[in-house]
Protein backbone atom coordinates (compact mmCIF):
# COMPACT_ATOMS: atom_id res chain seq x y z
CA UNK A 1 0.00 0.00 0.00
CA UNK A 2 1.46 3.37 -0.94
CA UNK A 3 1.40 6.28 1.47
CA UNK A 4 -1.75 8.33 1.29
CA UNK A 5 -1.57 11.63 -0.59
CA UNK A 6 -0.35 14.55 1.41
CA UNK A 7 1.54 12.42 3.92
CA UNK A 8 0.01 10.78 6.92
CA UNK A 9 0.00 14.00 8.83
CA UNK A 10 0.48 17.28 7.10
CA UNK A 11 3.48 19.34 8.19
CA UNK A 12 1.08 21.90 9.58
CA UNK A 13 -0.17 19.37 12.10
CA UNK A 14 3.32 18.85 13.41
CA UNK A 15 4.45 19.94 16.66
CA UNK A 16 5.34 22.55 18.85
CA UNK A 17 8.99 22.88 19.78
CA UNK A 18 10.29 21.70 23.10
CA UNK A 19 8.83 18.20 23.11
CA UNK A 20 11.46 15.51 23.39
CA UNK A 21 11.71 11.76 23.48
CA UNK A 22 14.80 9.52 23.61
CA UNK A 23 16.79 10.22 20.46
CA UNK A 24 19.24 7.33 20.16
CA UNK A 25 16.49 4.73 20.24
CA UNK A 26 13.32 6.58 19.37
CA UNK A 27 10.14 5.29 20.90
CA UNK A 28 6.84 5.54 19.07
CA UNK A 29 4.54 6.42 21.92
CA UNK A 30 5.31 7.69 25.41
CA UNK A 31 2.55 7.87 28.00
CA UNK A 32 3.62 9.73 31.09
CA UNK A 33 1.87 9.57 34.47
CA UNK A 34 -1.66 9.22 33.16
CA UNK A 35 -4.45 9.86 35.66
CA UNK A 36 -8.12 9.16 35.07
CA UNK A 37 -10.55 9.27 37.94
CA UNK A 38 -14.22 8.27 38.04
CA UNK A 39 -15.46 9.86 41.23
CA UNK A 40 -13.40 8.45 44.06
CA UNK A 41 -12.10 5.57 41.99
CA UNK A 42 -8.97 5.67 39.81
CA UNK A 43 -9.22 4.03 36.40
CA UNK A 44 -5.62 5.04 35.69
CA UNK A 45 -3.29 6.06 38.45
CA UNK A 46 0.16 7.29 37.56
CA UNK A 47 0.40 5.03 34.52
CA UNK A 48 3.48 5.40 32.33
CA UNK A 49 4.02 3.21 29.27
CA UNK A 50 6.49 3.46 26.43
CA UNK A 51 6.10 1.68 23.10
CA UNK A 52 8.83 1.15 20.55
CA UNK A 53 8.31 0.48 16.82
CA UNK A 54 7.47 -3.11 15.95
CA UNK A 55 6.80 -4.31 19.47
CA UNK A 56 3.65 -5.82 20.89
CA UNK A 57 2.58 -4.98 24.43
CA UNK A 58 -0.19 -6.74 26.29
CA UNK A 59 -2.11 -4.96 29.04
CA UNK A 60 -3.57 -7.61 31.33
CA UNK A 61 -5.70 -7.53 34.44
CA UNK A 62 -9.23 -8.34 35.54
CA UNK A 63 -12.39 -6.46 34.59
CA UNK A 64 -12.42 -2.99 36.08
CA UNK A 65 -8.63 -2.77 36.38
CA UNK A 66 -8.55 0.20 34.00
CA UNK A 67 -7.23 -1.56 30.90
CA UNK A 68 -9.73 -0.16 28.43
CA UNK A 69 -9.50 3.34 29.94
CA UNK A 70 -5.73 3.18 29.45
CA UNK A 71 -6.20 2.04 25.84
CA UNK A 72 -8.63 4.89 25.22
CA UNK A 73 -6.12 7.42 26.60
CA UNK A 74 -3.24 5.99 24.57
CA UNK A 75 -5.29 6.03 21.37
CA UNK A 76 -6.51 9.58 21.86
CA UNK A 77 -10.14 8.60 22.45
CA UNK A 78 -10.25 9.84 26.02
CA UNK A 79 -8.37 12.74 27.54
CA UNK A 80 -6.69 11.88 30.85
CA UNK A 81 -7.32 14.13 33.87
CA UNK A 82 -3.58 14.68 33.89
CA UNK A 83 -0.48 13.24 32.27
CA UNK A 84 0.50 13.18 28.62
CA UNK A 85 0.69 10.90 25.59
CA UNK A 86 3.38 11.77 23.08
CA UNK A 87 3.55 10.20 19.66
CA UNK A 88 6.31 10.24 17.08
CA UNK A 89 4.70 10.66 13.66
CA UNK A 90 5.95 8.99 10.49
CA UNK A 91 7.24 12.40 9.45
CA UNK A 92 9.49 12.31 12.53
CA UNK A 93 7.82 15.03 14.59
CA UNK A 94 6.49 14.52 18.08
CA UNK A 95 2.98 15.50 19.02
CA UNK A 96 1.34 15.72 22.39
CA UNK A 97 -1.78 13.77 21.48
CA UNK A 98 -4.20 15.27 23.98
CA UNK A 99 -3.04 18.85 23.37
CA UNK A 100 -3.83 18.60 19.67
CA UNK A 101 -7.16 19.43 18.09
CA UNK A 102 -9.82 16.77 17.66
CA UNK A 103 -9.18 17.00 13.94
CA UNK A 104 -5.52 16.00 14.31
CA UNK A 105 -6.43 13.11 16.61
CA UNK A 106 -9.04 11.82 14.17
CA UNK A 107 -6.55 12.04 11.37
CA UNK A 108 -4.04 10.02 13.38
CA UNK A 109 -6.69 7.43 14.15
CA UNK A 110 -7.53 6.85 10.53
CA UNK A 111 -3.99 7.02 9.14
CA UNK A 112 -1.07 6.05 11.35
CA UNK A 113 -3.14 4.27 13.99
CA UNK A 114 -5.77 1.60 13.97
CA UNK A 115 -8.25 0.50 16.59
CA UNK A 116 -9.77 -3.00 16.76
CA UNK A 117 -12.69 -3.17 19.16
CA UNK A 118 -13.90 -6.11 21.16
CA UNK A 119 -17.31 -6.04 19.54
CA UNK A 120 -16.84 -5.99 15.75
CA UNK A 121 -20.17 -4.17 15.46
CA UNK A 122 -18.52 -1.15 17.12
CA UNK A 123 -15.68 -1.17 14.61
CA UNK A 124 -17.59 -1.94 11.43
CA UNK A 125 -20.29 -0.14 9.47
CA UNK A 126 -23.11 -2.62 9.31
CA UNK A 127 -25.03 -0.85 6.55
CA UNK A 128 -22.32 -1.20 3.91
CA UNK A 129 -20.70 -4.27 2.32
CA UNK A 130 -17.57 -6.06 3.54
CA UNK A 131 -15.63 -4.55 0.65
CA UNK A 132 -17.11 -1.16 1.47
CA UNK A 133 -15.93 -1.43 5.05
CA UNK A 134 -12.37 -2.02 3.93
CA UNK A 135 -12.55 0.52 1.13
CA UNK A 136 -13.99 3.23 3.35
CA UNK A 137 -10.85 3.36 5.42
CA UNK A 138 -8.77 3.72 2.25
CA UNK A 139 -11.00 6.52 0.99
CA UNK A 140 -10.61 8.23 4.34
CA UNK A 141 -6.88 8.33 3.72
CA UNK A 142 -7.30 9.95 0.34
CA UNK A 143 -7.55 7.01 -2.08
CA UNK A 144 -10.03 7.63 -4.90
CA UNK A 145 -9.50 5.02 -7.62
CA UNK A 146 -12.49 2.67 -7.35
CA UNK A 147 -10.84 -0.31 -9.08
CA UNK A 148 -7.74 -0.14 -6.93
CA UNK A 149 -9.74 0.24 -3.73
CA UNK A 150 -11.85 -2.79 -4.65
CA UNK A 151 -8.73 -4.80 -5.49
CA UNK A 152 -7.16 -3.86 -2.16
CA UNK A 153 -10.36 -4.85 -0.35
CA UNK A 154 -10.39 -8.24 -2.10
CA UNK A 155 -6.71 -8.72 -1.29
CA UNK A 156 -7.33 -8.00 2.38
CA UNK A 157 -10.32 -10.34 2.55
CA UNK A 158 -7.94 -13.07 1.42
CA UNK A 159 -5.27 -12.09 3.90
CA UNK A 160 -7.72 -12.45 6.78
CA UNK A 161 -8.91 -15.77 5.33
CA UNK A 162 -12.36 -14.59 4.22
CA UNK A 163 -13.90 -15.77 0.96
CA UNK A 164 -13.46 -13.11 -1.71
CA UNK A 165 -16.87 -14.08 -3.07
CA UNK A 166 -18.32 -12.42 0.06
CA UNK A 167 -16.93 -8.99 -0.92
CA UNK A 168 -20.41 -7.55 -1.52
CA UNK A 169 -22.12 -9.18 1.46
CA UNK A 170 -23.16 -7.13 4.46
CA UNK A 171 -21.24 -7.75 7.73
CA UNK A 172 -24.50 -8.82 9.37
CA UNK A 173 -24.38 -11.96 7.19
CA UNK A 174 -21.01 -12.92 8.72
CA UNK A 175 -20.37 -14.94 11.90
CA UNK A 176 -18.76 -13.23 14.89
CA UNK A 177 -15.32 -14.61 14.07
CA UNK A 178 -15.62 -13.50 10.43
CA UNK A 179 -16.79 -10.04 11.49
CA UNK A 180 -13.75 -9.76 13.74
CA UNK A 181 -11.43 -10.73 10.88
CA UNK A 182 -13.20 -8.18 8.69
CA UNK A 183 -12.57 -5.54 11.34
CA UNK A 184 -8.88 -6.48 11.34
CA UNK A 185 -8.79 -6.11 7.53
CA UNK A 186 -10.55 -2.73 7.73
CA UNK A 187 -8.01 -1.57 10.31
CA UNK A 188 -4.85 -2.80 8.62
CA UNK A 189 -5.66 -1.91 4.99
CA UNK A 190 -4.40 1.65 5.46
CA UNK A 191 -1.04 0.34 6.77
CA UNK A 192 -1.06 1.85 10.26
CA UNK A 193 2.15 1.84 12.33
CA UNK A 194 0.44 1.40 15.67
CA UNK A 195 -2.63 -0.68 16.39
CA UNK A 196 -4.75 -0.75 19.53
CA UNK A 197 -6.73 -3.93 20.17
CA UNK A 198 -9.30 -4.19 22.94
CA UNK A 199 -10.01 -7.84 23.81
CA UNK A 200 -9.90 -8.80 20.12
CA UNK A 201 -10.78 -12.44 20.84
CA UNK A 202 -13.32 -11.57 23.54
CA UNK A 203 -16.66 -12.96 22.47
CA UNK A 204 -15.39 -15.71 20.20
CA UNK A 205 -15.47 -19.51 20.45
CA UNK A 206 -12.13 -21.08 21.35
CA UNK A 207 -11.42 -22.53 17.89
CA UNK A 208 -12.31 -19.20 16.28
CA UNK A 209 -10.05 -17.41 18.80
CA UNK A 210 -7.11 -19.64 17.87
CA UNK A 211 -7.54 -18.79 14.20
CA UNK A 212 -7.78 -15.06 14.87
CA UNK A 213 -4.75 -15.14 17.18
CA UNK A 214 -2.70 -16.96 14.58
CA UNK A 215 -3.76 -14.38 12.01
CA UNK A 216 -2.87 -11.46 14.28
CA UNK A 217 0.47 -13.05 15.18
CA UNK A 218 1.39 -13.40 11.51
CA UNK A 219 0.19 -9.94 10.45
CA UNK A 220 1.95 -8.17 13.32
CA UNK A 221 5.23 -9.85 12.34
CA UNK A 222 4.80 -9.39 8.57
CA UNK A 223 3.83 -5.74 8.78
CA UNK A 224 6.26 -4.95 11.62
CA UNK A 225 3.40 -3.36 13.53
CA UNK A 226 3.56 -1.93 16.98
CA UNK A 227 0.50 -3.01 18.92
CA UNK A 228 -1.12 -2.58 22.31
CA UNK A 229 -3.44 -5.45 23.16
CA UNK A 230 -5.80 -5.29 26.09
CA UNK A 231 -6.74 -8.75 27.28
CA UNK A 232 -7.77 -10.57 30.41
CA UNK A 233 -6.49 -13.79 28.83
CA UNK A 234 -2.87 -14.52 29.79
CA UNK A 235 -2.59 -17.09 26.98
CA UNK A 236 -3.30 -14.33 24.45
CA UNK A 237 -0.53 -12.24 26.02
CA UNK A 238 1.86 -15.24 25.93
CA UNK A 239 1.15 -15.83 22.27
CA UNK A 240 1.23 -12.29 20.92
CA UNK A 241 3.15 -9.96 23.20
CA UNK A 242 6.86 -9.22 23.63
CA UNK A 243 6.21 -7.30 26.82
CA UNK A 244 3.34 -7.13 29.23
CA UNK A 245 1.92 -4.78 31.77
CA UNK A 246 -0.23 -6.01 34.67
CA UNK A 247 -2.88 -3.61 35.96
CA UNK A 248 -4.87 -3.66 39.17
CA UNK A 249 -7.13 -0.89 40.49
CA UNK A 250 -5.90 1.49 37.77
CA UNK A 251 -2.23 1.01 38.57
CA UNK A 252 0.56 -0.92 36.87
CA UNK A 253 1.63 -3.47 39.47
CA UNK A 254 4.19 -5.32 37.35
CA UNK A 255 5.68 -5.15 33.89
CA UNK A 256 8.40 -6.86 31.91
CA UNK A 257 9.20 -9.44 29.28
CA UNK A 258 6.09 -11.55 28.74
CA UNK A 259 7.59 -14.95 29.55
CA UNK A 260 9.41 -13.53 32.59
CA UNK A 261 6.27 -12.02 34.08
CA UNK A 262 4.30 -15.23 33.44
CA UNK A 263 7.00 -17.72 34.53
CA UNK A 264 8.49 -15.77 37.43
CA UNK A 265 5.86 -13.28 38.60
CA UNK A 266 7.10 -11.12 41.46
CA UNK A 267 4.08 -9.27 42.77
CA UNK A 268 1.35 -10.90 44.87
CA UNK A 269 -1.38 -9.87 42.42
CA UNK A 270 0.51 -11.20 39.37
CA UNK A 271 1.22 -14.47 41.18
CA UNK A 272 -2.49 -14.77 41.96
CA UNK A 273 -3.45 -14.10 38.32
CA UNK A 274 -0.92 -16.60 36.95
CA UNK A 275 -1.72 -19.29 39.51
CA UNK A 276 -5.44 -18.95 38.78
CA UNK A 277 -5.00 -20.08 35.19
CA UNK A 278 -4.95 -23.75 34.31
CA UNK A 279 -1.96 -23.45 32.04
CA UNK A 280 -0.64 -20.54 29.98
Amino acid sequence: MTAPPGGALGAAALPAAGLEMAVDDPSLLDADRLMVRFGARFACRDVSVRIWPGEVIAVVGESGAGKTTLLDCLSGQRAPDSGSVRYRTSAGGIIDVHQESEMVRRRLQRTEWGVVRQNPRDGLRLDISAGGNIGERLMATGHRHYGRIRAAAADWLERVELDVARLDDLPAQFSGGMQQRLQVARTLVSAPRLVFLDEPTGGLDVSVQARLLDLLRRLVAELDLAAVIVTHDLAVARLLADRMVVMQHGEIVESGLTDQVLDDPQEPYTQLLVSSVLRV
Binding site: R211, D214, R217, R243, G256, L257, D263, D264, Q266, S275
Partner: protein, 246 residues
Protein backbone atom coordinates in the same frame (compact mmCIF):
# COMPACT_ATOMS: atom_id res chain seq x y z
CA UNK B 1 33.99 -1.94 28.87
CA UNK B 2 37.15 -3.11 27.10
CA UNK B 3 37.00 -5.14 23.94
CA UNK B 4 37.10 -8.89 24.47
CA UNK B 5 39.58 -11.26 22.85
CA UNK B 6 38.73 -14.75 21.66
CA UNK B 7 39.79 -16.30 24.95
CA UNK B 8 37.51 -14.05 26.97
CA UNK B 9 34.51 -15.66 28.58
CA UNK B 10 31.18 -15.74 26.79
CA UNK B 11 29.31 -16.13 30.05
CA UNK B 12 30.18 -14.75 33.48
CA UNK B 13 28.08 -15.39 36.56
CA UNK B 14 29.00 -13.77 39.86
CA UNK B 15 27.30 -14.39 43.21
CA UNK B 16 24.00 -15.29 41.61
CA UNK B 17 21.20 -15.56 44.15
CA UNK B 18 17.62 -16.60 43.62
CA UNK B 19 14.80 -17.08 46.08
CA UNK B 20 11.20 -17.66 45.07
CA UNK B 21 8.68 -15.93 47.30
CA UNK B 22 5.21 -17.41 47.07
CA UNK B 23 2.79 -14.65 47.97
CA UNK B 24 -0.16 -16.95 47.38
CA UNK B 25 1.28 -19.29 50.05
CA UNK B 26 1.54 -16.83 52.89
CA UNK B 27 4.84 -15.43 51.64
CA UNK B 28 6.70 -18.73 51.86
CA UNK B 29 10.21 -18.36 50.64
CA UNK B 30 12.02 -21.04 48.63
CA UNK B 31 15.75 -20.39 48.42
CA UNK B 32 17.32 -21.89 45.31
CA UNK B 33 20.69 -20.28 44.67
CA UNK B 34 23.11 -18.56 46.99
CA UNK B 35 26.09 -16.74 45.52
CA UNK B 36 26.65 -19.10 42.62
CA UNK B 37 29.54 -18.16 40.32
CA UNK B 38 30.63 -19.61 36.99
CA UNK B 39 32.46 -18.61 33.85
CA UNK B 40 32.28 -20.31 30.44
CA UNK B 41 34.67 -19.57 27.58
CA UNK B 42 34.16 -19.68 23.84
CA UNK B 43 34.55 -23.21 22.49
CA UNK B 44 33.90 -24.76 25.86
CA UNK B 45 31.09 -27.07 26.96
CA UNK B 46 30.28 -27.13 30.67
CA UNK B 47 27.91 -29.63 32.26
CA UNK B 48 25.85 -28.47 35.19
CA UNK B 49 25.58 -31.42 37.58
CA UNK B 50 23.69 -32.02 40.77
CA UNK B 51 20.71 -33.82 42.16
CA UNK B 52 17.19 -33.14 41.01
CA UNK B 53 15.68 -29.95 42.45
CA UNK B 54 19.01 -28.34 43.23
CA UNK B 55 18.36 -25.46 40.80
CA UNK B 56 20.11 -26.44 37.58
CA UNK B 57 17.23 -25.45 35.30
CA UNK B 58 16.80 -22.28 37.33
CA UNK B 59 20.39 -21.28 36.47
CA UNK B 60 19.67 -21.69 32.76
CA UNK B 61 16.40 -19.76 33.00
CA UNK B 62 18.12 -16.92 34.87
CA UNK B 63 20.78 -16.68 32.15
CA UNK B 64 18.09 -16.62 29.46
CA UNK B 65 16.22 -13.89 31.35
CA UNK B 66 13.17 -16.09 31.84
CA UNK B 67 13.58 -15.74 35.62
CA UNK B 68 14.63 -12.61 37.48
CA UNK B 69 17.77 -12.83 39.59
CA UNK B 70 17.48 -11.89 43.25
CA UNK B 71 21.10 -10.82 43.50
CA UNK B 72 24.46 -11.07 41.80
CA UNK B 73 25.28 -10.58 38.16
CA UNK B 74 25.04 -12.47 34.88
CA UNK B 75 26.84 -11.13 31.86
CA UNK B 76 27.01 -12.54 28.34
CA UNK B 77 29.11 -11.54 25.38
CA UNK B 78 27.21 -9.69 22.67
CA UNK B 79 28.80 -7.85 19.77
CA UNK B 80 32.23 -7.90 21.41
CA UNK B 81 31.12 -6.61 24.80
CA UNK B 82 29.96 -8.19 28.02
CA UNK B 83 26.32 -7.22 28.54
CA UNK B 84 24.41 -7.61 31.81
CA UNK B 85 21.37 -9.89 31.66
CA UNK B 86 20.41 -9.14 35.23
CA UNK B 87 18.36 -5.96 35.35
CA UNK B 88 18.35 -5.67 31.55
CA UNK B 89 15.40 -3.90 29.96
CA UNK B 90 12.98 -6.26 28.19
CA UNK B 91 14.03 -4.86 24.83
CA UNK B 92 17.66 -5.62 25.61
CA UNK B 93 16.77 -9.18 26.59
CA UNK B 94 14.90 -9.71 23.34
CA UNK B 95 17.96 -8.47 21.47
CA UNK B 96 20.26 -10.77 23.48
CA UNK B 97 18.06 -13.78 22.77
CA UNK B 98 17.99 -12.99 19.10
CA UNK B 99 21.74 -12.54 18.72
CA UNK B 100 23.66 -13.89 21.71
CA UNK B 101 21.87 -16.59 23.71
CA UNK B 102 20.10 -19.72 22.48
CA UNK B 103 18.12 -21.88 24.87
CA UNK B 104 16.77 -25.39 24.41
CA UNK B 105 14.20 -25.87 27.12
CA UNK B 106 13.10 -29.26 28.36
CA UNK B 107 9.70 -29.01 26.76
CA UNK B 108 8.54 -27.38 23.56
CA UNK B 109 6.05 -24.59 24.06
CA UNK B 110 3.67 -25.21 21.22
CA UNK B 111 2.21 -22.34 19.25
CA UNK B 112 -1.21 -23.37 17.93
CA UNK B 113 -1.53 -23.78 14.17
CA UNK B 114 2.12 -23.08 13.37
CA UNK B 115 3.88 -25.86 11.41
CA UNK B 116 7.12 -27.36 12.75
CA UNK B 117 9.12 -26.04 9.80
CA UNK B 118 8.03 -22.44 10.48
CA UNK B 119 8.78 -22.78 14.21
CA UNK B 120 12.31 -23.92 13.41
CA UNK B 121 12.83 -21.25 10.73
CA UNK B 122 11.62 -18.40 12.97
CA UNK B 123 14.97 -17.59 14.71
CA UNK B 124 16.63 -17.20 11.29
CA UNK B 125 13.85 -14.98 9.98
CA UNK B 126 14.14 -12.84 13.12
CA UNK B 127 17.77 -12.26 12.13
CA UNK B 128 16.68 -11.03 8.71
CA UNK B 129 17.21 -14.26 6.76
CA UNK B 130 15.11 -14.70 3.62
CA UNK B 131 12.03 -16.84 4.41
CA UNK B 132 12.67 -19.44 1.71
CA UNK B 133 16.29 -19.89 2.70
CA UNK B 134 15.32 -20.09 6.37
CA UNK B 135 12.80 -22.83 5.57
CA UNK B 136 15.35 -24.72 3.49
CA UNK B 137 17.86 -24.63 6.35
CA UNK B 138 15.15 -25.60 8.84
CA UNK B 139 14.24 -28.57 6.63
CA UNK B 140 17.86 -29.65 6.38
CA UNK B 141 18.27 -29.56 10.16
CA UNK B 142 15.01 -31.43 10.79
CA UNK B 143 16.08 -34.04 8.23
CA UNK B 144 19.37 -34.46 10.05
CA UNK B 145 17.40 -34.95 13.27
CA UNK B 146 15.40 -37.67 11.48
CA UNK B 147 12.06 -35.90 11.80
CA UNK B 148 9.92 -37.40 9.00
CA UNK B 149 9.25 -34.87 6.27
CA UNK B 150 5.49 -35.51 6.44
CA UNK B 151 5.54 -33.88 9.90
CA UNK B 152 7.23 -30.66 8.84
CA UNK B 153 4.06 -28.97 7.69
CA UNK B 154 2.12 -29.96 10.83
CA UNK B 155 1.95 -28.10 14.15
CA UNK B 156 3.94 -30.13 16.71
CA UNK B 157 1.07 -30.22 19.25
CA UNK B 158 0.29 -33.83 18.36
CA UNK B 159 3.92 -34.98 18.00
CA UNK B 160 5.45 -37.54 20.36
CA UNK B 161 7.75 -36.34 23.17
CA UNK B 162 10.84 -37.33 21.19
CA UNK B 163 9.62 -35.59 18.04
CA UNK B 164 8.82 -32.40 19.96
CA UNK B 165 12.24 -32.51 21.59
CA UNK B 166 13.94 -32.70 18.20
CA UNK B 167 11.93 -29.69 17.01
CA UNK B 168 13.03 -27.91 20.18
CA UNK B 169 16.70 -28.77 19.61
CA UNK B 170 16.41 -27.54 16.03
CA UNK B 171 14.90 -24.21 17.19
CA UNK B 172 17.87 -23.74 19.54
CA UNK B 173 20.56 -24.68 17.03
CA UNK B 174 19.27 -23.28 13.73
CA UNK B 175 20.80 -19.83 14.24
CA UNK B 176 24.28 -20.09 15.76
CA UNK B 177 24.68 -17.83 18.77
CA UNK B 178 27.73 -17.40 21.04
CA UNK B 179 26.04 -18.98 24.06
CA UNK B 180 23.98 -22.16 23.97
CA UNK B 181 21.95 -23.30 26.99
CA UNK B 182 20.73 -26.91 26.91
CA UNK B 183 18.25 -28.35 29.40
CA UNK B 184 18.21 -32.14 28.98
CA UNK B 185 18.30 -32.00 25.18
CA UNK B 186 18.38 -35.79 24.77
CA UNK B 187 16.04 -36.93 27.57
CA UNK B 188 13.35 -38.45 25.33
CA UNK B 189 15.50 -39.48 22.39
CA UNK B 190 16.54 -42.93 21.19
CA UNK B 191 20.23 -43.81 20.78
CA UNK B 192 20.38 -42.83 17.13
CA UNK B 193 18.89 -39.36 17.61
CA UNK B 194 20.94 -38.86 20.78
CA UNK B 195 24.05 -39.35 18.66
CA UNK B 196 22.81 -36.73 16.18
CA UNK B 197 22.29 -34.19 18.96
CA UNK B 198 25.75 -34.97 20.38
CA UNK B 199 27.26 -34.31 16.96
CA UNK B 200 25.33 -31.06 16.55
CA UNK B 201 26.44 -29.75 19.94
CA UNK B 202 30.05 -30.75 19.24
CA UNK B 203 29.89 -28.86 15.96
CA UNK B 204 28.56 -25.77 17.75
CA UNK B 205 31.44 -25.96 20.27
CA UNK B 206 33.98 -26.48 17.50
CA UNK B 207 32.50 -23.39 15.85
CA UNK B 208 33.32 -21.36 18.97
CA UNK B 209 30.06 -21.49 20.90
CA UNK B 210 30.08 -21.64 24.68
CA UNK B 211 27.70 -24.33 25.90
CA UNK B 212 26.20 -24.74 29.36
CA UNK B 213 24.01 -27.78 29.68
CA UNK B 214 22.17 -30.16 31.95
CA UNK B 215 22.75 -33.76 30.84
CA UNK B 216 21.42 -36.51 33.07
CA UNK B 217 22.70 -39.21 30.74
CA UNK B 218 26.37 -39.84 31.77
CA UNK B 219 27.17 -41.07 28.27
CA UNK B 220 25.98 -37.79 26.72
CA UNK B 221 27.84 -35.77 29.35
CA UNK B 222 31.00 -37.75 28.71
CA UNK B 223 30.69 -37.24 24.96
CA UNK B 224 30.03 -33.48 25.04
CA UNK B 225 31.28 -31.78 28.18
CA UNK B 226 34.83 -30.50 28.69
CA UNK B 227 34.23 -30.06 32.39
CA UNK B 228 31.46 -30.33 34.93
CA UNK B 229 30.31 -27.93 37.60
CA UNK B 230 28.42 -29.43 40.50
CA UNK B 231 25.53 -27.48 41.88
CA UNK B 232 24.96 -28.73 45.40
CA UNK B 233 23.08 -27.87 48.53
CA UNK B 234 25.99 -25.61 49.53
CA UNK B 235 24.97 -23.29 46.69
CA UNK B 236 21.59 -23.02 48.32
CA UNK B 237 20.59 -20.66 51.03
CA UNK B 238 19.36 -21.89 54.36
CA UNK B 239 15.56 -21.93 54.28
CA UNK B 240 14.01 -18.82 55.71
CA UNK B 241 12.78 -19.80 59.15
CA UNK B 242 10.45 -16.84 59.26
CA UNK B 243 8.51 -17.93 56.24
CA UNK B 244 5.00 -19.27 56.54
CA UNK B 245 4.17 -22.88 55.84
CA UNK B 246 3.76 -23.62 52.14
Amino acid sequence: MTAMTDTAPILEIRDLTKTFVLHTRGGASIPVLDRFSLSVDAGECVALNGPSGVGKSTVLRLIYGNYRAGGGEIRVRHAGRMVAVTDAEPRRLIDLRRHAVAYVSQFLRVIPRVPALDIVAAPLIALGCDALEAQARAGALLARLNLPERLWTLPPATFSGGEQQRVNVAVGLIAPRPLLLLDEPTASLDAGNRAVVIDLVREAVAGGAAVLGIFHDPMVREAIADRAVALSARDRQEPDQQAGEP
